[in-house]
Structures are given as structure tokens and as C-alpha cells.
């Protein structure tokens, strides 16, 4: 067993006194096997209204063209690409959690990977719709693929980062989908074997005939590990390539070698913030406090401090390099960001992304659920502003002052953005109704070694150093689902 013999001073990954394998299944499948709750219906109604708004605004765009947006000759990219980069960034946390943390043997990923991967899929769908909409004539999207066409030897320009983007995003989406779905098979089989009638038939089709035989599990684990191994560089490459959409240009403010690592860090930052936004609510509403514990929340908050700090360093480095390069256009671009007409966007970005995550250095704040949730939203807002600042403030004033212009969004762009959030939440809410939001097979793996009851057993029957036992008990104070009275004796 993977987690046997785990040190007692490690905090439990599953809390609760008498969790059994059967109870894990029951707890995780409760929202799938029962009728939706009132909270779900309220959330779903609000989210689907948002999705409806998205549908209206996107249809309007397709009908009238992107003239319906507030773009002008100077600012040719604005909310569309901001939204695209924002959503792709959010998507990154899912792959990070499933792949990178798997490679690093971080067991705490097991309870959050499923919903994070689902989040990735939905976020990338939102991102892709932005790109297609921004083409203006979406039926021409097929020309971005290297297919023979009626123009003879006319191929796409593979030297262009925009084409790299097409390949990166489509590969990222399809690989994430495969990774997610393969991981779902054992859990779909669990639902199938508990269901009856039509539900059983439906889940039977989607379970691919999974039986859980030992050889299948062995191959399944090999597949997961290799997929994680290839997804890790993939996820880094995707946001690197997205950053090259800007970095390979000569636009002041875009032409920056720091963009690839900075974008990747930003993506992880915003992705983890969105995972927090979703999971802090989901764990409460779905009653998954024993599986998504304070340890998970704290770990994610720590990643938010780290990536937020990297992003902060990147902002300051950009400023420094603009000054150090001696290029006046570059210098102007950065001074203009901070003091020009879009100063409010710049300072929103700075305060949301650089200053606010630093509050997580305080243990009390890091362990506060309402504060973590609030801050995760602040970070999401900040990261949206980051992309807005990079795109709009760089474009609105460049080399030729006569073409300087301001950008104001129309209701269509605003609706597409708000609507895409609605679409995202609609998909997520549907997901938690039909598929298990926690990877049961992987969580069951932790029960014997990393759960609270396993640790309790070790405390009671094992030969544990008194100091370590005391340390463990103290660490439990922060859990909102642990009865400390059990340990007082």
C-alpha cells in the first residue's frame, strides 16, 4: 500500500472517525445518486441564466461581426483575448494538480484532482469559444488547421505563435479530456454497479466495461503516470506559447523575454484561486469536508502565496528591465501603465495580485475559509486585470501618438465575459450532478495510511514518540471537521 507507514506528524488527508471504503463511496456519490438540493437549483438557475446571456451575446457577435465590440484600429485585442488568456490560465491548475502533484507524489492531490480536472476542461472550453468568436467569421476557423484547401499550396504560417496557439490549446484540451476521462472510468463503474434500470445502462456504456481487475488497475496506473509525465511539460508549454502571442511581437510592453515563466506562474496562481472558489463552496454544499480538508485548503493557499509572489517579482522585473534597457518606448509603456489613463486597472492588478496574497502569510487568515474564498475571488479579479493591462494598455499607446486611442467595451463584450462565467458554472454544476466530484479510487487508497482513523489507530496501538503524538494532536486544531474532544484524553 502506498501510504502505509506514513509518519504520524503528517496531518490526515481524510478526517472523520469511522470512515470506511463504503462510506467514501456513499459520501462522494450522494449528490450523484440523489435528487438535487435547493442550493444546487439556485446555483444552476443563476448560472444557466448567465450561460443564456453568453449565448445571446455570442450569437449577436456572430450575426453582426466583431464590430459589435468596442475594438478600434488601435486596440484590436481587448476583452476577447483578455478573457481567453484568463480562462486558459484558470484551466492550468487542474493539470497542475493532476500531473505535477502526481509526479511529486503529493497525496493531497487525490481528493481535489477530479474537480480540478473538470474545471480545466470547462475553462478551456470557455477560452476556446473566445478565440473562435474573436475570429469574427468563425466558420473560417477551419483555415487555422493544416488541411489541403482550394487555394492550392496554401498552408498556415507555422512561424506564427497564433498557429502554435491553435496546436497548443487543442492538444491541451484533448489530452486533458483523455486524462480526465480515463481517470473517471473506475468511478463510473462504481456508479454503474450501484445503479438500476436506465441509469445503469447509461453508466454502463460510459464505464467501458471496467471491472477493477488487478491487471487493469496496474495498466491504469501506468497510463496515469505517463499521462502525468507528458502533461507536465504540456501545461508549461501551453501558457508559454500563449505568452508568445505577445512576447514575439515588437509592441512595447509585450516584447518581453520574462513572459513565458511569468505567464505560467500567473496561470497556476489564477487556477488555484478558481479551484478554491469552487471547492470551498462544493465541499460545504456536497458535504465533503472529510475529504477536502483544511490541509488541502491550506496547501492551496501556500501555492497561491508562492505563485502570487512570483507574479509580483515578474511585475517589478518588467519595470526594472524597461528602465535598464534604455529603450524609451518601453519605459514610456510602463510609466503609462502605472500613471496613464488605465492606472486604475494597473493598480487593481497590483493590489489584487501582489499585495493581497501576501496576507496568507498569516496563519489565521490562511486557515479561514471565508477569507480564503474572498481572497480567491480577489485573485481571480486581479488576474483578469493583469491580462487586461498587458493587452489594452500596451496597445492603446504605442509608437505613433496620432493613432493613440482609448478602449471602451460594449454591452456585447461585457455580456460575453459575464456569460462565459455562467457557462463555466453551468457545466461545473452539471458535472457534480452526474459524475463523482472526488476521485473515489484514489481517495480509498489513502484510507489506510493517511486518514485520521488510521493515525488514531497508530496513536492508540503503535509505539509513537510522545512528542510526535502531541505535535499531531496540536496540528488538528485547525480542522473544521475534527472533533478535538476525541483526542483530549
Amino acid at each position: 500500500m502506498a501510504s502505509h507507514g506514513e509518519s504520524i506528524i503528517r496531518e490526515p488527508l481524510i478526517t472523520g472517525k469511522d470512515i470506511t471504503y463504503a462510506q467514501i463511496t456513499n459520501d462522494v456519490l450522494r449528490p450523484v445518486e440523489n435528487l438535487p438540493t435547493k442550493a444546487w437549483w439556485i446555483g444552476f438557475t443563476v448560472a444557466s441564466l448567465g450561460a443564456l446571456l453568453w449565448l445571446v451575446a455570442v450569437s449577436y457577435t456572430f450575426w453582426f461581426g466583431i464590430g459589435a465590440w468596442g475594438l478600434n484600429k488601435t486596440v484590436g485585442w481587448a476583452w476577447d483575448i483578455t478573457g481567453f488568456v484568463w480562462w486558459v490560465g484558470i484551466g492550468h491548475a487542474g493539470t497542475l494538480i493532476s500531473a505535477v502533484l502526481l509526479l511529486f507524489r503529493q497525496n493531497w492531490r487525490n481528493s481535489i484532482n477530479r474537480s480540478a480536472e473538470a474545471m480545466t476542461i470547462f475553462a478551456v472550453i470557455c477560452a476556446a469559444t473566445y478565440i473562435v468568436a474573436h475570429m469574427g467569421r468563425p466558420w473560417m476557423a477551419v483555415y487555422s488547421l493544416p488541411l489541403p484547401n482550394q487555394y492550392g499550396s496554401l498552408w498556415v504560417n507555422f512561424n506564427s505563435p497564433l498557429i502554435w496557439d491553435v496546436f497548443a490549446i487543442s492538444t491541451y484540451f484533448s489530452v486533458s479530456l483523455v486524462f480526465w476521462y480515463t481517470g473517471l472510468l473506475p468511478d463510473i463503474a462504481t456508479i454503474r454497479d450501484r445503479a438500476t434500470g436506465l441509469r445503469r445502462r447509461i453508466y454502463s456504456i460510459f464505464s467501458f466495461g471496467w471491472t477493477g481487475s488487478v491487471k487493469t488497475w496496474q495498466r491504469f496506473e501506468t497510463v496515469s503516470l505517463i499521462l502525468a509525465g507528458i502533461s507536465t511539460p504540456l501545461v508549461l508549454s501551453v501558457h508559454t506559447i500563449v505568452s508568445m502571442d505577445f512576447a514575439t511581437s515588437l509592441e512595447p510592453g509585450w516584447h518581453t523575454t520574462i513572459f513565458p515563466p511569468y505567464f505560467v506562474a500567473g496561470a497556476i496562481f489564477s487556477g488555484f484561486a478558481m479551484v478554491q472558489t469552487l471547492l470551498l463552496v462544493a465541499r460545504k454544499v456536497l458535504g465533503l469536508e472529510n475529504y477536502i480538508t483544511m490541509f488541502h485548503i491550506e496547501s492551496m493557499n501556500k501555492i497561491i502565496i508562492l505563485t502570487g509572489s512570483i507574479v509580483g517579482v515578474a511585475y517589478i522585473t518588467e519595470f526594472f528591465i524597461a528602465w535598464y534597457s534604455g529603450v524609451e518606448y518601453e519605459q514610456y509603456a510602463f510609466i503609462n501603465r502605472a500613471t496613464g489613463p488605465y492606472w486604475w486597472a494597473y493598480w487593481s492588478m497590483m493590489s489584487c495580485n501582489v499585495i493581497s496574497p501576501q496576507l496568507f502569510w498569516f496563519r489565521k487568515l490562511r486557515l479561514s475559509i471565508p477569507f480564503s474564498w474572498f481572497l480567491s475571488i480577489v485573485v481571480n479579479i486581479g488576474m483578469w486585470f493583469e491580462r487586461f493591462v498587458i493587452i489594452v494598455t500596451s496597445l492603446h499607446r504605442d509608437y505613433i501618438p496620432s493613432s493613440w486611442a482609448m478602449f471602451y467595451p460594449t454591452w456585447v463584450e461585457v455580456s460575453i465575459f459575464i456569460g462565459s462565467i455562467g457557462l463555466f458554472f453551468t457545466l461545473f454544476l452539471l458535472f457534480i450532478r452526474v459524475l463523482p466530484s472526488v476521485a473515489m479510487g484514489e481517495v480509498k487508497l489513502l484510507l489506510k495510511g493517511s486518514s485520521e482513523q488510521a493515525k488514531k489507530k497508530v496513536l492508540e496501538h503503535g509505539h509513537v514518540d510522545a512528542e510526535q503524538a502531541a505535535f499531531y494532536k496540536e496540528s488538528l486544531e485547525k480542522f473544521d471537521s475534527v472533533e478535538l474532544a476525541d483526542y483530549k484524553a
Partner: protein, 178 residues
């Protein structure tokens, strides 16, 4: 002659099941298969299952993807449609890297997963051939082919001794076959 086709030992605990496997092996009783709701590390060695060769498949698919992408780019940009863009070389290898990389990953992922499905006979709509419905929930199941085996009562005793919570004598091989 009894109609029992398979004897199933159902365990609540994976360690007890491993103990059961050990005891059966000590008594030279061949094990047909083992089913569990989660991966059990170390069991492959115990059951003498060879390492998966999916890694080799993945490597071959990755090489294929990389070669296909690079050849495609070379054909399109160098042979079929060379363009003079500011006198820059058509065979611009650094520009080929991102797409070559993406397709290497794409081919690896799809190739390997499809090989996995093929090798384990998983495909959409396949009738689930489960011996016990709880094997995907909370039971760890050892299945023993009953025909030609030592007295069934002995197998039952061995399983019970190892901690099986239930021993089933199944007339049918699969319970969820539809």
C-alpha cells in the same frame, strides 16, 4: 458434481486480501483474478504479473508524433510552399519546436490510452463483466476457478481463515452481464 463455477472470497481490507492470496498460494491453489475498487500497490509482484509495457507503446507513439509533425512542417514550409520572408531561412528549426512538441504529446497520449483500452478490452458500451457488484465499491475480491480444483470447502476455509467476510460459490461467471 457441483455447479459452482467460481469461488469468490470477499474481503473488507486489502491487507487481509493479500493474506488470503498468500495462503492460497501456499496451498498451491491457482488464483483466477483479483478485483478491487482501488489500485493495490505491490500486488502485481505477488500475483506474478509482469510489468506493463505501455511505456514502450507511449514512447513509440511519441516518436511517431514528433516525426509526423516535423515532416509535415518541413514539407509544407520548405518543400511545398517556401516563402521569402525578409530573407529568413525557410527551414527555421526553432519555429518548428512548439508544434513538433505538441504533436509528440498528442500522439503519445492518444496512442497510449487507445492501446490501454485495446489491451484491457475496454470500449464504450462494453457489457460490464463483474463477478461481484461490490468489487467496484468496497469489497476486495479474490476469484478462484472452481472446476478441477481441490475440495471447495477447503478453499472456503482458507479464505475465511484469512479474514474473508463472505465466500460466494457462483454458478455464473458474471453477475452483471447484460
Amino acid at each position: 458434481m457441483s455447479s459452482t463455477k467460481f469461488i469468490l472470497g470477499l474481503f473488507e481490507d486489502p491487507d487481509e486480501m493479500l493474506d488470503g492470496i498468500h495462503k492460497l498460494q501456499q496451498n498451491s491453489i491457482p488464483i483466477y483474478d483479483v478485483y478491487s475498487p482501488m489500485p493495490i500497490h505491490g500486488i502485481e509482484a505477488k500475483l506474478g504479473i509482469k510489468d506493463s509495457r505501455l511505456g514502450y507503446a507511449a514512447f513509440i507513439f511519441g516518436c511517431t508524433g514528433g516525426t509526423v509533425a516535423f515532416s509535415m512542417l518541413y514539407y509544407m514550409l520548405v518543400l511545398d510552399w517556401p516563402h521569402n520572408i525578409g530573407g529568413k531561412p525557410n527551414f527555421a528549426i526553432p519555429d518548428f519546436v512548439p508544434i513538433t512538441f505538441e504533436w509528440t504529446v498528442l500522439f503519445t497520449a492518444f496512442g497510449m490510452v487507445l492501446t490501454f483500452f485495446y489491451a484491457t478490452h475496454l470500449f464504450p458500451g462494453r457489457a460490464p463483466r463483474v463477478m461481484d457488484l461490490r468489487a467496484t465499491d468496497d469489497r476486495f475480491v479474490i476469484a478462484i476457478d472452481a472446476r478441477g480444483n481441490i475440495p471447495h470447502a477447503d478453499i472456503t476455509n482458507i479464505l475465511k481463515e484469512a479474514g474473508a467476510v463472505e465466500v460466494k460459490h457462483n454458478d455464473r461467471k458474471y453477475v452483471s452481464y447484460e
